[in-house]
Amino acid sequence: MSNPIRSKAAPTSPQQEDLASLAHVPIWLFVLLFLLTFWGMYYFDQNSGWFNVQVYTPYRSVAELKLYQPPAGGGNERGKAVYENICALCHNVDGMGKPNQAPPLVGSEWVLGSPTRMARIPLAGLAGPITIKGVEWNLAMPAMGAALSDDDLSAVLTYMRQSWGNKASAITPEQVKAVRAELSGRSQPFTSDQLQQIP
């Protein structure tokens, strides 16, 4: 014994075998492989969304995902989404306001009145006492809408003027743009009296 390592037999020379002896793999294993592969391809086709980056389970295709999207157009969907994301925190989802946080928007003369007057409130903010539907409120609202685009702001203002039973004219992005241009440079919030003077 020249080596403590157990001397192992030389491998049965594999050169003599060739790939043709794949017959040693049971045939049913190949059948299973093909069946599973077929199932796999079908399953992938049905569920994967074909590599689309937007499609997540439980959606199975781009078409299905598209079906569930909120309806485009009609301005109000956009306004509703902005409202619920930003305004509803204080004014509540139903526009009824919250005590000690924000006055109601439903039936409010400030909401239903002049568009240019209403647009000033989110663009510059509002502070100090203000009377709404005969009730006096004394709170401060920051310029919540200043960061919104003209399109988003006009949509949300229109939503407020036309929801929960409110019926007033829509506000266009052009109107918002004009008001925003007038207010450029203003850092102070409006007061009730200042707003009264806006036509």
Binding site: L19, Q54, V55, P58, Y59, Y68, Q69, K80, S149, D152
Partner: protein, 297 residues
Amino acid sequence: MNYGPLVFLAAFLALSGSWVGFVVAPNFQLSTLQETNTIGAGVTYPLGRPGLAQQGLQVYRANGCVSCHSQMVVQERTMCEVSLTDFGTNFVAVESALRGINSNYNAQVINELKKSLPKTIVFDTTKQKADATVKLINQAGAKAQVVVTPSGSDIARGWGRRRSVAEDYLYDDPVMLGGLRVGPDLANLGSRLPDVNWHLRHLYAPQTEIANSTMPPYRFLFETRKIGSVPVAEPLNLPSGLVPTGYEVVPKPEAVALAQYLVSLRADVQLYSTPFSTPPAASGSGSGISSNAPAVK
């Protein structure tokens, strides 16, 4: 024939396939994600976490919180409902439309329904059927809308409004999704429990905030010291008996950072890949997250 090289080549190709598929391809697809404007609201999402919360992420990592908490919400299906928002004026037309939807709608039921709008008139249906119903109602002069609600047990537990998607983790490093839920999912913890002090008390003594909780205390993130020994202190407001009299418990910076991180966990805005809609207002408690947070004392 010596087919050693052939075996090697086949093995190499098989392995590099998965490398291309699950390392290279996802990287190309997901690493280039940008902040997007959310649907409708035009809010930029996601924004990075505030600095203190980012430090908190490292505390979360260092203590292996990921061993027991996941941060991904599962959505099993998407449900559609139809909500009647405005009855309009043509009672007969609307009545016949409603009968077409459900034969149980007789005049009495409809009169009841009319008083408490908005009201869900079709539950748990497909988007196609919901759209068809809305069209039918609108033709009758009333107004209805489709409410799209993600559903699943995670969402029923109030762990989120929708499933988690890749955008939710864009600025986290490391991303710790977790695979075991010994405790609840934390993907939207900040929406359920936004109070930093609650988290601090819970970290110090979990059982004071959630009875019978199996979570271990993390008292080493806090300092117990004599009242008055250090001038500025924001001690925890703990139940009596936990701290000896004359002493106060003050969170270390790590604890504050961790609590800020937990509060910053929010992933519930609407993206293109996760459509949902808020039910129409005035139905009361129907909107938003039905909070299923653990009982808070």
